[in-house]
């Protein structure tokens, strides 16, 4: 009908439907991308659109900068978000487990962490409600990663992607670090990037679980609470250890900082105390690895090496709660953060 063709709202809806029909969406509407949109993204980076930024050789698929740009626009990103998307994608690809992650029954999500002044420039939330929703940069940067996996690699749910259940919000976990309220250096400094530099880190995770502890001013008590969640049997999938990390709320972080704990001290404490008795593992039918070198008893450390327990700070200082997250696989985190590269330096 003529009214449908000339009505701009009807046209916009029709374009969105067109994208659904092509199989390009993650289930939510996408913003149709044009060549001009892609060019606007490329202009923020100064990179060649044909540059290949990642490959999955076993699928014979690669992704270019221009493809990433189209998917970022479709996710709802503004062009100026694109350098962060590229850095996030590179950080995700640095994760050893990312090769098979998108096909895995585990269905992991990338936890994307943004550090530096870029948080304020783009409006990346690092304070209240940091896990969302409500903030365009957080929501769309994370979503762009998912669309690149889908459209760039051609990995679709119930086809090459074989997630048993997946997890809530798989493509929506992008947070800023609350550097302003952290007692420690930014996570990106742990990841090898100079302080004050815009940078992105990524860790593939299988779940998040809160630790709500507003009842004590004892650092050891709060750490005990964290260690209990980290040592949960269900998260252990066999092998030499489980995995775990923490997004500390500012109140917990400052409680620990004021008690004299460095980030490394916290990691070491959790490594020492996130322990289960081997008999617990046996009782849950998971004793095969845990008892291989011992009789049925004695402690089993659930965490990998202390440095492989990622710890960061995000959220509001309005209640003492934190989030345990569970890295996918045994490789924990690459501990390599990726600087955000804009075409021209900003003051």
């Amino acid at each position: 009908m003529t009214s449908e063709v000339t009505d701009p709202v009807a046209q916009a809806k029709a374009a969105i439907e067109y994208c659904y029909e092509q199989g390009w969406t993650d289930g939510l509407p996408v913003v149709p991308a044009t060549a001009a949109d892609v060019a606007a993204c490329l202009a923020t980076t100064g990179r060649d659109g044909d540059e290949v930024i990642s490959s999955q050789p076993h699928l014979s698929r690669s992704v270019t900068v221009a493809q990433a740009a189209a998917n970022a626009i479709m996710a709802g990103c503004k062009p100026e978000y694109f350098p962060v998307v590229l850095a996030a994608w590179q950080a995700v690809c640095l994760e050893r487990a990312s090769r098979g992650a998108w096909q895995s029954t585990s269905g992991p999500a990338p936890l994307i962490i943004v550090n530096g002044p870029v948080r304020s420039r783009l409006g990346v939330n690092y304070a209240g409600g940091v896990f969302g929703p409500g903030f365009r940069a957080n929501a769309t940067i994370a979503r762009a990663i998912g669309l690149i996996v889908r459209n760039g690699y051609g990995i679709h749910p119930q086809e090459l992607e074989q997630a048993t259940q997946g997890l809530p919000g798989r493509w929506s976990v992008c947070i800023g670090e609350n550097e302003e309220m952290s007692p420690w250096e930014p996570l990106s400094v742990v990841g090898g990037v100079a302080p004050g530099t815009d940078a992105v880190s990524a860790i593939l995770i299988r779940t998040c679980e809160y630790v709500d502890n507003r009842s004590t001013d004892s650092a050891a008590a709060v750490l005990t609470d964290f260690a209990d969640s980290l040592a949960r049997l269900g998260a252990y999938v066999g092998g030499a250890h489980s995995s775990g990390g923490l997004v500390l709320g500012p109140e917990h972080a400052q409680l620990l900082g004021n008690a004299g704990y460095s980030r490394a001290d916290v990691q070491e404490w959790l490594f020492e105390h996130a322990v289960r008795d081997r008999s617990d593992m046996v009782a849950a039918g998971k004793g095969e690895h845990a008892v291989a070198d011992a009789d049925h008893g004695g402690p089993f450390r659930m965490m990998p090496a202390a440095q492989d327990i990622p710890i960061m700070v995000a959220g509001a200082a309005n209640a003492a709660m934190s989030m345990v997250f569970r890295p996918f696989g045994w490789a924990a985190w690459s501990r390599q953060s990726v600087p955000v590269g804009y075409a021209e330096e900003r003051s």
């Binding site: 076993h58 698929r61 098979g100 096909q103 090459l160 992607e161």
Partner: protein, 185 residues
């Protein structure tokens, strides 16, 4: 009307499935042929293949000459392992594809061997036929046939593995001696 919308799927390799692969010729008989076993790291995979080998040796006169385990469930087997299999074996059985990545990867291994002229039979659990088929399509071999065994395999006892392996053998023999395509791709 929407031709100016950028297709986000267009990139290097997106047309890979348009290059069809040629499968290896099948032998008339298995008797005396050299059998290779290519396992992945999933629990029970090596034992499953070893038990298959035992039956194929005992009942069909094959000789198990090589058993290898690839180090990574996602990637295809490393070149040195593929070269060994290609040089020392007449046919190969590989698997067990019992996860999202490794089912697809097992099919990729099978097709690489086929391209090298080695008839290969892939074993996948029946929970992962979709990803196995998707990989066959990606690799230009839509309709590539493989053997299924009920999911799960990882929690079977040694006796359970043995029984499953024995049950899979007739289908393995069929795929080693009959055309390996369900239909022309």
């Amino acid at each position: 009307m929407f031709e100016n919308i950028v297709d986000p799927t267009v990139g290097p390799g997106a047309g890979a499935q348009r290059r069809p692969v040629a499968l290896a010729d099948r032998p008339a008989s298995l008797r005396g042929l050299r059998l290779g076993l290519l396992a992945n790291t999933k629990r029970n995979a090596e034992q499953f293949l070893a038990d298959v080998g035992t039956v194929l040796a005992g009942d069909y006169g094959m000789r198990v000459v090589l058993a290898r385990k690839k180090p990574n469930i996602v990637e295809t087997a490393p070149e040195p392992i593929m070269a060994e299999l290609g040089e020392q074996c007449d046919v190969v059985v590989t698997g067990v594809g019992d996860c999202g990545s490794c089912s697809a990867s097992a099919v990729a291994d099978g097709l690489l061997l086929e391209q090298a002229g080695i008839p290969a039979v892939v074993i996948c659990s029946d929970a992962f036929t979709v990803s196995a088929d998707a990989m066959a399509y990606l690799r230009g071999a839509a309709g590539y046939r493989y053997v299924t065994t009920p999911h799960p395999v990882a929690n079977l006892t040694p006796e359970g593995v043995q029984s499953r392996a024995a049950a899979a053998v007739p289908a393995i023999v069929a795929l080693l001696t009959e055309p390996a395509m369900a239909a022309s791709a």
